[in-house]
Symmetry: C2
Subunit: 334 residues, 2 copies
């Protein structure tokens, strides 16, 4: 095996100190000339030098990896969150150990243990389950994207889903709709309690009665939305449908098409998330934007804050949503 | 800090040897009774025992992590591949370090280095770039999902895209279409050379002339397909459009809708990938299935084969595609 090139070798080749090399490679080399920086980068490239995190690990127990657990890597919302996390971590020379819990609490528990065994610097957890985390995480920092289910004082990233959903229902009422259905998910993993409560409250605030037969529960997937809408349309005479998320709305479109129901003339539909694809549907879907990429990016930012300043509080963040008006809602003349 | 529970403690509690515990925990305990296995699992649960991979690392240099580099984690095809990889690894107690190269060769190179610094056991690389991998990977095993661009004798997972695309074009010709366009990507990262060559060859085999103005190049995204189709429809009088992938086809739908073009009456469209959503479009999209989950699952399986049997050849696999007939193609009476 060839002798491994060291930071000292690089310093000698370029003719600078090891501190200079180290600072330039760690993005702390602002005070050095462009020429010096280029020389260092060229030498690093030419001699294939790389700092050995593995060796570092043994001494510092610093893996420069962050674990992340999501309920479904193929979910269009979570894949944007992952992209945000990865983008921030990458800029900071951290890497991402990704775990797909497939909506299982048991798998989440297993992953938390496995990630600790691999000495991650922290865990970002996208989960709506109450998991007794304080005990499980020991002294490991963690950031929650969990709809506030694991209450603590710091490191919570939340979205004001209540207001977002309330505004959607209000928009439908203002447009003249009185028979408004909802696709929700109250029994499964991806609980939508806030959205469901907002739906009920908004109806009440506007003097409309709540009909339980206007609500259908189902998995938060395209297929789930398809099946739920098909069931709902069998029994409920509704003119509008608020869907728990965009994927359900895409399924609702299909269920309507199958029955020759025209959107929005016969049925108005609103989604939630503002996935890229919703702007391309026919008709383009009116929906509520959640900043998925930003949520991930901020979670990673807070994670590194927690790792680097273990004695400081981790910030909290509450995102507001944005109503995205497109063409899937009929406005009645009053 | 509490004394950490060891494998010896577990063995004493259950009343078996440490070898027995080790074999049961490593899924090599077939010869032990169900009762013994349950006792071991219960003790492990109760006393919160977990093998310390970090300590193991120091001795065995075995991280039980596999690196994976994909061009885009939010791409609907790759997120299914990731799900397949993660599913297999998880069953084998391995974890996944995920890297998002954002279509950049430079980032791929950086990740290969960073993954090695973190002592991954191997790398799964989804990339269509020629990367001089033999040199870069040193002695690390790797599996390629790369359309055959980095030619080697083992560990290649390929899809017969040529035949898949050829069959689509042939289907259109058999249905009576003679003016068939294509959305492709020849200049960017996600090269579709096989699909483009199949398109040209199929036209030729059936006595149809190739018109370069019937082809438009663009990014392999929904928006890319939208823009490309809009341009194509300005200049080309086509009755059918073969899209390089499903995401482009979704964009093509939108571009057609915008101009009042009815699918399939005025324009037939075929995609490639068979993403879940394509069955829910209006009309449901005729497309070509690639086994994305299986590709990922098999890549992970081959990876562990390579890790565990470093002296054996890694298998190769060539997947065939499947034509999925739905409602986006008009069949002319002959």
């Amino acid at each position: 095996m060839l002798k491994k090139i060291t930071i000292k070798d690089i310093a000698n080749i370029v003719g600078v100190s090891t501190t200079t090399v180290s600072q330039i490679l760690n993005n702390k080399g602002q005070r050095f000339s462009e020429e010096t920086k280029q020389k260092v980068f060229q030498a690093v490239e030419k001699y294939d030098y790389s700092p050995d995190y593995f060796a570092k690990n043994m001494v510092q127990r610093e893996s420069r990896t962050v674990g992340m657990i999501v309920p479904d890597v193929t979910d269009l919302f979570f894949s944007k969150v992952i992209e945000g996390v990865e983008t921030y971590l990458n800029r900071k020379d951290y890497m991402l150990l990704l775990c797909n819990s497939k909506h299982s609490t048991e798998m989440e528990r297993g992953f938390i243990k496995q990630l600790q065994n691999r000495s991650v610097a922290g865990i970002i957890l996208a989960s709506p389950n109450a998991l007794e985390l304080e005990k499980k995480m020991k002294h490991l920092p963690y950031i929650l994207i969990d709809r506030g289910l694991n209450t603590r004082e710091q490191g919570n990233i939340l979205v004001n889903e209540y207001d977002g959903f309330y505004n959607s229902v209000k928009y439908l009422i203002d447009a003249g709709h009185t028979k408004i259905g909802m696709l929700t998910n109250e029994t499964g993993y991806y609980e939508m309690t806030d959205r469901f409560v907002a739906y009920q409250k908004c109806l009440k605030d506007h003097g409309l009665e709540f009909h339980s037969e206007f609500v259908e529960d189902g998995p938060v997937t395209i297929h789930g939305g398809y099946v739920a809408t098909r069931e709902l349309l069998k029994r409920a005479d509704i003119s509008a449908l608020c869907c728990g998320n965009d994927q359900m709305a895409i399924g609702a479109y299909r269920a309507a098409f199958d029955q020759g129901i025209v959107i929005p003339d016969d049925l108005s539909i609103i989604g939630f998330d503002n996935l890229e694809i919703t702007g391309y549907l026919n008709p383009p879907l009116t929906t509520v934007e959640q900043p998925a990429f930003d949520i991930g990016y901020t979670a990673a930012e807070y994670m590194l804050h927690a790792i680097n300043f273990p004695d400081k509080m981790i910030p909290n963040k509450l995102y507001q949503t944005k109503f995205i008006l497109r063409d899937s809602v009929k406005v009645f003349d009053r």
